[in-house]
């Protein structure tokens, strides 16, 4: 138990540090949201607008960085993430809650599927070492080296277009109102297929490789040989002895991958114009929308931490050796 407590303390500390960095990084950078907005509009907005925007965004007051920091922390504790500049005056929490479900839905699900598929395939490939399965390795190496945004673009070029089943962008059919009916769900799935496939293709190979390596390593452990010696059916040896143990080191990798759902697959969202957090993050960077940036970073940070915490718990469950009696 104290192990978990210790982890918890560590997580709190990390969360605080990350929040602090989140606060300072955007403020270190030059440029401000007003200039960014004017620049983005390229003449669509007059140069007079500058003054009114500073007033509007509340940037006309001179507040010290420290007092901003503490009021930010205070806001955070009250669960208030502030107002987005790009979508002024919408609260950041609203903006994020628009994007988050899509990201979690698309990238989250595909990350999990990728992990499961890759791990399963890796287990088989590692187990069947010395057969045709080995020839899969160079292929997966190559595939995993392709930047996924490129893969996505090629997929869009090749597979989408007028009359194609695959939409090139968006999360659901234009004009549908999000709700839980079949038409909407179907449309969501349809829109998720291509980006999901892209993520899958490029993430699956990584899992295959790492699982295979672990499988090879574990297969030559004595207890696997003992399992063979016990005359157990091959499936059982492979699953309960080799794969079960080979899985362990991948758990923390999986946690990290879960955490990087938002940050890591930002490009997929950009390429497929998928209305998730990654796209919002990208736009927020361009618009110098600090509150939104901070909010998204906070979400990412917390989800990484949460994923790690879950991994710790999963590890406790999966590996009895870590369950040290204190």
């Amino acid at each position: 138990m104290s192990y978990l407590l210790k982890r918890l303390a560590f997580y709190l500390l990390t969360a605080w540090a990350a929040v602090t960095i989140n606060f300072f990084v955007p403020r270190m950078i030059p440029g401000d949201p007003v200039q960014a907005l004017i620049t983005k509009q390229r003449g669509q907005m007059t140069s007079e607008a500058v003054r009114s925007l500073y007033v509007l965004f509340g940037l006309d007051k001179n507040e010290s960085l420290a007092s901003q920091y503490f009021s930010y922390l205070g806001q955070l504790l009250r669960g208030d993430l502030g107002m987005s500049f790009t979508f002024f005056p919408s609260p950041v929490s609203d903006v994020i809650s628009d994007g988050l479900p899509w990201t979690v839905g698309l990238v989250g699900i595909t990350t999990v599927i990728g992990f499961l598929l890759g791990t399963a395939a890796g287990a088989v490939v590692g187990w069947r070492r010395g057969t045709w399965a080995d020839s899969l390795i160079p292929v997966t190496t190559f595939v995993s080296s392709i930047p996924y945004f490129w893969l996505g673009l090629v997929a869009i070029a090749v597979l989408t277009g007028p009359g194609s089943f695959f939409p090139a962008s968006g999360a659901y059919e234009i004009g549908l109102v999000p709700n839980w009916d079949w038409q909407f769900i179907g449309s969501t799935v349809q829109h998720g297929l291509l980006p999901g496939f892209t993520i899958l293709v490029s993430s699956v190979s990584g899992w295959i490789l790492s699982m295979r390596n672990m499988m090879v390593t574990v297969s030559s452990d004595d207890y696997v040989t003992v399992a063979h010696a016990k005359g157990l059916p091959e499936r059982r040896v492979m699953l309960a002895y080799a794969a079960r143990n080979a899985l362990l080191p991948n758990v923390s990798g999986f946690a990290l991958a879960l955490g990087f759902i938002v940050g890591g697959t930002l490009l997929v969202e950009i390429v497929f114009s998928y209305p998730g957090l990654g796209l919002q993050l990208f736009q927020a960077v361009g618009a110098k929308d600090y509150p939104l940036l901070q909010g998204i970073f906070l979400v990412i940070t917390l989800s990484v931490l949460l994923a790690n915490l879950l991994a710790d718990v999963a590890y406790l469950a999966l590996d009895p050796r870590t369950r040290r009696e204190a």
Partner: protein, 293 residues
């Protein structure tokens, strides 16, 4: 020792890329930025990879772009490796607050998503030369390696030969530098290669979304222009494919080198499981047909 075919292939490919990085801009048939009247032409004997909407030669752009990619990869790799070695080994060898502090630091860096951070920092630096991009990538991507190195150092620290060196009266810094560090070369090398791969992909990603070195070309810039001119929608596949393949090949070569290192570190990965038509199996040792002896 049997040469490792995979690693060898990787090294050869890598050498070719490095070579191109050095001489690429010189052997490029055209100035990569030079406009011509051959607008958006498919590959031909004149323009091997075709041309852009401004009539620029894509082959030359890819060739010239190799340098920036390799440079950023190498510099970021070195920076991240040096940092991870400093932080990782120190945190692993020391104990107490210093160690906890350093490992907390690397954990914070692990938790903050690297790519978005890199995007934010680079897109806000006044100047985005290759060097600054490389530095930003390097400074933000050392944490994972540091964690691996710390774990390794923790296990090395209790090794008998480290204790023996201490019992022999060696000073702490000598123990770190001469007893522990050399045993981590493989791990460090693998971390280096991994970071280079990450840096290359990051740089290209950055360039693709419009953050890149002003002066020059890299594969990401080629892709950026292709994308902003909607090359694929116009059917200009040649604008996209070469740069993408170049990235994939460079990535593959790095992964192959890493395989080699992995196999070096973990001998169990090295054993070949299929030789001369005999399949080696765990649990069922193959029996060769009886030879008359």
């Amino acid at each position: 020792m049997r040469t490792n075919a995979k690693a060898l292939t990787g090294v050869i490919m890598l050498v070719v890329f490095v070579l191109l990085a050095v001489i690429g801009p010189w052997i490029a048939p055209f100035d990569p930025s030079m406009r011509s009247n051959a607008l958006l032409q498919p590959p031909s004997s004149m323009h091997w990879f075709g041309t852009t909407h401004l009539g620029q030669d894509i082959f030359s752009q890819v060739l010239a772009g190799t340098r920036s990619v390799v440079f950023v990869g190498a510099v970021a790799g070195v920076v991240a490796t040096v940092l991870s070695v400093l932080v990782g080994i120190t945190a692993g060898y020391l104990s107490g607050t210093a160690s906890e502090g350093l490992s907390a630091l690397s954990n914070v860096f692990l938790v903050i998503p690297a790519l978005p951070l890199i995007i934010i920092i680079t897109s806000s630096l006044p100047e985005t030369s290759n060097l600054t991009i490389a530095l930003v990538i390097g400074l933000t991507s050392w944490a994972w390696n540091a964690r691996v190195l710390r774990a390794q150092t923790l296990s090395l620290r209790r090794r008998d030969y480290v204790e023996a060196a201490r019992a022999n009266g060696e000073s702490t810094w000598r123990i770190i530098l001469f007893e522990i560090l050399p045993n981590l070369y493989a791990v460090i090398a693998s971390g280096f290669v991994g970071t280079v791969l990450f840096a290359v992909i990051s740089e290209i990603t950055l360039a693709f979304i419009g953050v890149s070195d002003a002066g020059g070309w890299n594969w990401g810039t080629v892709l950026y222009w292709a994308q902003s001119q909607q090359a694929l929608a116009q059917g200009a596949w040649w604008w996209f494919v070469p740069a993408g393949l170049a990235i994939a090949l460079l990535g593959t070569s790095l992964s192959l080198v890493n395989f080699g290192i992995d196999e070096y570190v973990n001998p169990r990965l090295r054993t070949r499981f299929s030789m001369r038509g005999v399949r080696m199996r765990v649990g069922f040792t193959p029996v060769l047909a009886k030879e008359t002896s």
